[in-house]
Amino acid sequence: MCVRGLSKSYATPQGPLPVLRGVDLTLEAGETLAMMGESGSGKSTLLHLVGALDDADAGDILLDGVNIAGLPENGKATVRRETIGVVFQQFNLIASLTVGENLAFQSRLANRYDPDWMARLTQRLGLDNLTGRYPEQLSGGQQQRVAIGRALAARPRLLLADEPTGNLDEPTGDAALALTLELVAETGCGFLMVTHSVRLASRLQRQATLAAGTLIST
């Protein structure tokens, strides 16, 4: 993945609010990057742009050589389905579906459902006995593991996570991250994680800080 000169500002009643002012970032396959920064510095914004969830004002986002910044809605949806996995701090499970269905949802949608991989993933995430349950019947850590599993089920090229452990207590969060890193290594995808925690960030290969609308590697 390669991001060049990415800019984004939000329209507010007080006029446009520039959040990203030319962000450059490269992330190779298999590479892991922790993104830090003050609250409100634009970390989520950047993640959303990279995840084809929002439109940038200017700049390029190249994923496997395809510039997703210029894609229409349809193309973006395909990218989200097939190339990217996202894990949010909360709210990303589909409440009306069971754990098993949630896990398989994206991969089926992307037509990349692989029962072996699914089984292995489920087993690795320790969700074997929980597939029949519904999200609200799980603990926070279990829910987040489902989210990670779902994001990885379609074997995305890039895994994005926005403070994935923010809602979890420290040991649970640590365990979830460890598991994620293992699975990332296994699939060989890139991993971009937003976090506040220097401790967690240090467990990733690279670290960067977003400040004043630009990304500074550390």
């Binding site: 939000y10 609250s39 989520s44 959303h48 995840g51 969830l53 929002d54 439109d55 809605e73 349809n74 949806a77 395909t78 990218v79 989200r80 389905r81 097939e82 990217i84 996202v86 949010f88 701090q89 909360q90 709210f91 990303n92 499970l93 589909i94 409440a95 009306s96 579906l97 269905e101 398989a104 949802f105 994206q106 089926r108 949608l109 992307a110 519904y134 609200e136 019947q137 779902r150 926005d162 403070e163 923010g166």
Partner: protein, 821 residues
Amino acid sequence: MRQICWTLAALASHWRKHPANLATLILGLAIATALWSGVQALNTQARRSYDSAANAFTGGKAQNLVAAQGGLFAQDLFVALRRAGLKVSPILEGSARIGKKTAKLIGIEPLTLPRDVGLAPLAGNRSATGMLTGDGLSYAAPGTIRDLGVLAGERPLTDAGFKLPPLVALSEAPPGAIIVDIGVAQKALNRPGRLSRMIVAPDMRIDATTLTEATDRALRIVEPEEDSDLARLTDSFHLNLTAFGLLAFLVGFFIVHASFGLAFEQRLPVLRTLRALGVSARALVAAMVIELSAFTLLAGGAGVIGGYLIAAALLPDVSASLEGLYGAQISGALTLDARWIISALAMAGGGALFAGASGLLKTFNLPVLSVARPIAWREAHRRYLARQATFALLSLMVAVLAGYFADTLEGGFTVIAASLLGVALLLPLALEALLRIGEALSKTPLSRWFFADGRQEIAGLSLALMALLLALATNIGVGGMVEGFRHTFIGWLDQRLVAEIYYEAATPHDAREIEDWARKDKEIVAILPVWRSKTRIGDWPVEVMGMTPHTTYSEHFPLNAATPDVWRMLHEEDAALVSEQLARRLKLSPGDSFDLPTTGDSWRLRVAGIFPDYGNPKGQIRLDHTRLAQHFADASGIHYSLRVAGDATTRVMTRLQETFGARIARIVDQAEVKKISTEIFERTFTVTTALNTLTLVVSAIALFASLLTLSNLRLAHVAPVWAIGVTRDRLATLEMLRILVFAAGAALIAIPLGLFMTWALVDIVNVVAFGWRLPMHIFPQHWLTVFATAQVAALVAGLVPVRRLARAAPAELLKVFANER
């Protein structure tokens, strides 16, 4: 107090952020109130008009005297009675065309008019001076003056070319009537020296013997109670209206309930915070009650205005059908009445309070510390479905019980209401089942999600969907009844109205002369006297009519049930044909015997047959012509039917009119009678249909409102799916599809429910209310229309919320994931 003020401010801020929710709430309440109060306004107006009409000549207690055999009588009888010391006052009534309107012209004599009848303001010397000097004066109610399209002070010109005295507004005047001096009336109506009735001073009672002595049987006493039959006869009509009003209110109430529920859910965090900040539960509830009261006033006020408009729009049809069906004159100008305004506001307040009650209760019991546990919607949903099922079963049990035990109008409506409610409550369960099946059958993850998520949506939409179901079922039910009635009625009219000409002679004497003349006319094939009298069986007014032996009857007269030799029996034995409503009331079948009160006696008769008599609020008995004359000394000899050859109808009518002029009081041909009859019924059902349509519109609004308020919540459900890679367009399509599926489900259930309702209306309500049973008709093409209507309603209701989703900016969807939430 300050606590409540600040709490109110905090609560109100919610509405600022969710104006659509607020609008729904107000709209729902306003519409519910409007429909209810509109119907109430119509009822109040009608009842007031009956009172004023009944009181005009009786003041509720005065006797009236009329010609024993119907028609008019000589004014000499008035002078004779006065000179005999009986305090009577002469009246001549008739109708006069003024431009396009027909007014009832009432001639009174102000000096002898009793001082305590409804027209009392016109009694006495001062009124006499006004009416009898200069151009004189005419009086009419302000509404009547408006209806006639004239101004007070103007002199209306009748189509017969008579210039009435200048009009003065008099609120006591009966609706639709112009009151003039008796002399003016006799000229305007071309009835010199004739009267139609006399009012007896209320402090005097005349008994039949005195009257017979004084007038030699020429007159008959009408007791004051007889006129108030009007109120009783029209009761069922008004109950019908009320029932529809209530139904409409119910539908509106569903909206209010739904929006309150949503508002409560949405405000739960605010409520918790307020409690945590030290606002007492009492203050919180007080603030919410104040808020509710404000809504009541706002929405109730709007509802009253809306109700007024609805009533004003429907009034012409209501009054036309009441006049046609019962001869009741209703003032065409709606008068505002404090009573129905208050009742409407009370209804709005009660509705709001009831709709908000669960929220208030929950608020009162709200734990200060929220349990930070994700809402276990599945558990809640199960409980919700169980509750629905329980209430549904209870309702259905009530319906069954009511159907079993009650044979009253209220019972009939209870059956309908309870079954409607019961099935409506079952709707979420049915939809749940439908979605489960869909889920089980679906192959792709998206279709699975489509169904699975739909189940979650049911709870939020159920009230609106229930409202839609009710509206659809009512539409099918009432539509089926009305349509069935139209079929039956028109067929029946064709059979019943065989004679070509119907006329009424001015007096029995004129009738004899016309009869003699008619016998010589070559184009008149048969003269069928239809003499009539009146009696009462129990407290029910019954018309008694004569029939001559003729093929017109034996070949055409429609019968529901009869003895094998019905016509021979009718003319050769003490036998009668009994109208369906009377037969039902007296529980008579062909072959049974009953006692008919005749003039001063009673007559045992056998039932030869039972005939349908749709639309007649009174009972009717048909007897052999000569037997009728023997037993009813006072039988009117003025009503006749004529059979004429081929196409001679117009010619014969012209000849009759030219020969006899004013000696024929009324004459109409068959086509005219049919036209009038069908018009009356069409107009009666215009009201029903209008209320029906309004109810449907309201339910569509309910659906729209619910979808609109839900759309915020829906975003949270849709966002994860979108994030995973489904386009907004696709999601929007699915959302719309789901709404259509729901509406389809509601419509599918509405069809059998509607059929049941038709059955209940035809078999229970109509029978009790009107005394006749219609054959049940089924109209599948109507079901298709209703199904399509439901789909269109859902489409229209879903359009805005779904478009909002399709157009939602990514940022809006992303907010769902924002960590700062």
